[in-house]
């Protein structure tokens, strides 16, 4: 069994969403996570608030961000257990983030310190 991070990216259009829409998204995210939990494959996760977000650059410059030129931002991630990347991809497909045009979920294996990876 491997662990995978499912990283949710979306365009920064959340601010204009209606309260009703936000409540719907929340319910869908909870249902999605519950579905993974029911299979005992959920490890953890968190949202990443945009408020106060900063980017520290190579030249020591700190900017507010990640906005501006970068169209998409990371809204949050969860970590799941899966037998294969295909199984992790199946979990990712259930993410309500994917309802938004142009949004994506990146699936990345978490490195294990077992000498194999």
């Amino acid at each position: 069994m491997e662990e995978y991070a499912l990283i949710m990216r979306h365009e920064d259009g959340l601010k204009v969403a209606s309260p009703e829409q936000i409540q719907t998204w929340m319910k869908q995210t909870m249902d999605w996570i519950d579905h993974i939990k029911a299979q005992n494959k959920f490890v953890g996760g968190t949202g990443l608030p945009f408020a106060d977000a900063k980017v520290v650059w190579y030249n020591n410059v700190v900017t507010n961000g990640p906005f501006g030129d970068i169209k998409e931002t990371i809204g949050g991630f969860i970590t799941v257990k899966a037998e294969s990347v295909e199984e992790a991809v199946e979990f990712a497909k259930g993410s309500p983030v994917l309802q938004g045009d142009g949004n994506s979920v990146e699936v990345r294996k978490i490195a294990k310190n077992d000498g194999v990876h």
Binding site: L14, S18, E20, Q21, Q23, W25, T29, M30
Partner: protein, 411 residues
Amino acid sequence: MNQQELIPHLFRTEFRKIAAVICKFLGIEHIELAEDIASETFLSALEIWSYKGVPENPVAWLYTVAKNKARNQITRNQLFSKKIAPEIKHSASKNTEIEIDLSEKNITDSQLQMLFALCHPAIPVEGQIGLSLRILCGFGIDEIANAFLTNKETINKRLFRAKEKLRTEKVQIAFPHTSEISNRLKTVLTTLYLLFNEGYYSETRDDVLREDLCLEAMRLTHLLVENGQTNSPEVNALLSLMCFHSSRFPARKNERGEIVLYQDQDETLWNQELIANGVYYLHQSSRGNKISKYHIEANIAYWHTIKADTKEKWENILQLYNHLLQIEYSPIAALNRTYALSKANSKEEAITEAEKLKLEGNHFYFTLLGELYADIDIKKAIHNFERAIDLAKTQTDKLFIQKKINKLKEY
């Protein structure tokens, strides 16, 4: 982890409370900032509750976050501190003293005062309705656009212009002066009346949305009834009217989603509790000696809660329409009067009156003429229905009228 279910519309309900209180606190010129703070509060909930579960007391959680966000904005935003009212600036300099009051009383007061501010006579009425839906009802731009059958850009522009007007007119978020209340109340009632009608007669196919608009209009009107200074006979008459109309919601559509006309409705589906409330507010409205159009329309709506076709009923309705048309003429009221005339007197008489109206751009006009001619002259009836189809805007309406033609052709 706590996985309690959230009550439906919790975010929308709390959005409008938070937005009204913060906007009242910051002043109308910062209405957008108030909206942003309220929106961000729910984004925080999305980011945290989705993963960690719903907190024990969700509302208290939201209020704490909203207060913090408002406080941060006030203390951090340099530009803002230059423009802001002196009393807030004063407390802003001593960070800890900024207290945003989200008590039930202040929420109600702020919402009422916002209602007067947004329904300011200087704002075009469609702007008033749009802003009310946004700030006082917690609707999103998408939802407002959907209700008005238009796109987001149009609504955004409309709201933008209305907000500009609020700023340039320096509209205060405050209760109008006692001497001004009845005058200002007129504009507020017009907006609430139109908001209700938007839901009741809207052509949008989204039934939930339509009912929500009506419920919101009723809720805001109820706020006025609950307040001693605004609890006027007119307000009660308007609320009564809304209760009677919305009592028929469950009967207005059949299982296939098609509209069921009044005379074909199953009256056992009418909501008796709302009818009883309507009667109660109608009684309350009879204080004083002024009769407004809301009084008359509420009385007409009252007679419609009695399903049986009696001479008394239609004569009363006819008289009420005559009175209504004297107070305020509208083509739709004139058409409705003609229908009452056909019921109270005769179809022939109604046809003569109807044809005088010459509302030749209105599909209801030709539909009514079609109905009136149906028993008298089938050819003319079909001809009128066909003209109605040409004018009808929605497919549902066209199909509905076509069915009437098909029925006539069977004879």
